[in-house]
Each structure stands twice: as C-alpha cells, then as structure tokens.
C-alpha cells in the first residue's frame, strides 16, 4: 500500500477488530484480520496490544483451549469510548479527503 498507517490508525483498527468479538479474541486471529485491510508484519501487533492494555483500552485474560492456556483480548469500556472517537475522527478525515479528490470542493 502506498499510504502509511500511523500509530493512531493502527490502534483504531486493532480496537475495531477486537470489538467485533464480544467474547474476546487472540493475537494470531487479530493479526490475520488486521492484515485483511492493511499490511502488517507478524511482530508489529504485540507492542500495539501491549500498549492498548496499558492504556486500559484492552484487557487480557487466559482461557483454556485445546489443553493450553490461550491469551485473549477484550475491549474495555474505555476502549469502546476510544474506538467511537477514532471512528468519528476517521469519518471526518476520510470525508474531507474524498471530497477533495472527487469534487475539489474548498469548504475551509
């Protein structure tokens, strides 16, 4: 992809992916889903998840799965608020860019 994904957008995408699973989801699955929309190296996600945990946007918990403890991630209340904010900001931002591309409308 020619466009960079900044930290905020990556946070937003990860929060959106995790929020789709009310019962939580795990690292490998999140990576695969994020990769459907942006290029993401396999090692990029971990620091993002860790930071979102520290910011209390995600919470991690372990769940028994096929004889081992798998780590799951879930969006917190704060994470939902953050995600809503990101979605609004993204709409404003992308609408402006699309408007400029398509109409060249100057409504500054």
């Amino acid at each position: 992809m020619v466009f960079n994904t900044g930290a905020a957008l990556l946070d937003a995408i990860v929060l959106a992916v995790v929020s789709k699973e009310p019962d939580g989801t795990y690292g490998y699955k999140i990576t695969q889903e994020v990769r459907q929309v942006i290029e993401l190296s396999e090692s990029t996600l971990y620091p993002v998840l860790r930071r979102l945990q520290k910011d209390e946007c995600l919470k991690a918990y372990d769940m028994e799965c096929a004889g081992r403890n798998r780590r799951y991630y879930k969006v917190t209340e704060k994470g939902n608020v953050q995600l809503t904010l990101y979605e609004q900001e993204w709409k404003l931002y992308s609408d402006k860019i699309t408007g400029m591309f398509e109409g060249g409308v100057n409504n500054g």
Partner: protein, 229 residues
C-alpha cells in the same frame, strides 16, 4: 531455526525485561505459533524475522510512553524515526484555524518591528552619547531622533504594504477580516506619511541648524582655547 530455538533465543534476549513483561511477550509468541499451526510454523518463524528483531520490537514498544508511538504497518522493516516524526508534525498542524494564523502572525511581527526599530535607534543613540561624552549630547540626541523618525516612516510603509496585501488576499475568503486589514494598512500608510513629512522637516531645518551650532561651538573652543566646562 525451529520453534524451540526461536523461543529460547527470544527468552534470552528479553532477559533484561521485568519477569512480568518477559512472561507476557513469551506467552504471546507461544500462543501465536500454536495458533498458526504446526504446518505454518516454519513460514511464520521466517516472516517473524530473527528473534533479535522481535525482541527489539518488543522493547521499542515498551519504551513508548503513549502518545507518539513509533511503529507502522510495515513493522520493523520500515520502522524508523523520520517517518514517525513527520506524522507527529502532521497532527500538530491539523488545527482548524491553522491557515488564518499565518497572516495574523506576520502582522504581529511587523507591528513589533515598528515599535522596536525606534527603540533600537534610541539605544544606539544612547551608546553614542556614552562614548562621546556630554559635550556631544546634542549630536546623539539629534541622530537618535533622525534615525528614529526615518526608521518609523520606513517601517510603517512596509507595514502598510503588507497589511493591504494580506487584506486583499483575505477579502476572497472573509471580506470582513479583509476590510479590517486593509483599514489597518491605510492607517499605517497615514502614519508613515506623517513620519516622512517629519523626516523632511528634520533634514531641511533641524540638521542645518545643528551643523551651524556645532560650527559655532568649535569656533568658540579654538578661538578661546578653553576646556569645556
């Protein structure tokens, strides 16, 4: 490199982290390889890159304090500081009235320049007086005045031109602000004309008078051969 080697090497590389952080990261990558499945293991390990790279990514992530985080979708390959810095700058610039600040700032700078230039000249004049002593008090005073007046006229003319220029440009977007700026520009032009007139008066009357005065003073000094009181 097989999975065991990879995990052992990663564990060793993370030995300087707190036990909690190390455990968290190892748990994550263990899960990751489990979930990828045995058949994908070699491919995943290959695309994770070296354990050194993974460890570096983990540590970099821990260093971040929240706001200006430094990784992108390309991961470690393109993770460099220059690009992320530009991203931070973008965020700062993205203010709603960013565009209108620039002419405003220019106006402020011009006004400050006008105010400061005569003051600066006065300081030079003051230094002049100090250096040449009380006998040349008048010379310093006159020079100060002349420079101050000329500088003020010059500065005001520039300010007028700038204000009127910005005003006309602003008219297109916001007529009220444009008219305000043009008005301020015309006001400055008026002041400039006054100072110009003052300069002319000084050069025509005050300076000739001053030189006559100096001449008289010197004649007095040389004829009577007396020191100054």
């Amino acid at each position: 490199m097989d999975r065991n080697e990879f995990m052992k090497r990663l564990e060793a590389l993370l030995s300087d982290l707190t036990p909690g952080e190390r455990e968290e990261a190892l748990h994550y990558y263990n899960d990751y390889l489990d979930d990828a499945g045995v058949e994908n293991e070699p491919a995943v390990i290959l695309s994770l890159g070296s354990p050194e790279r993974v460890a570096e990514t983990i540590k970099e992530g821990l260093k971040e304090t929240g706001d200006n985080v430094e990784y992108t979708e390309r991961g470690y390959e393109n993770r460099n500081f220059t690009r992320d810095k530009s991203e931070v700058v973008e965020k700062k610039v993205k203010k709603p009235f960013g565009m209108e600040m620039t002419p405003g700032m220019i106006v402020v700078v011009v006004i400050i320049a006008i105010i400061v230039s005569p003051i600066f000249m006065r300081i030079v004049g003051g230094l002049f007086e100090l250096v040449f002593g009380t006998g040349f008090n008048l010379l310093g005073g006159i020079l100060t005045m002349v420079f101050g007046v000329v500088a003020a006229a010059f500065g005001l003319f520039i300010a007028a031109a700038v204000l009127i220029g910005i005003g006309i440009a602003t008219m297109i977007g916001s007529p009220v602000a444009g008219i305000l700026l043009i008005g301020a520009g015309i006001f400055c032009a008026g002041l400039a004309v006054f100072f110009l007139w003052l300069s002319v008066v000084i050069f025509k009357y005050v300076i000739p008078w001053f030189f006559r005065f100096i001449g008289k003073l010197f004649r007095k000094l040389f004829h009577k051969k007396e020191g100054r009181a």
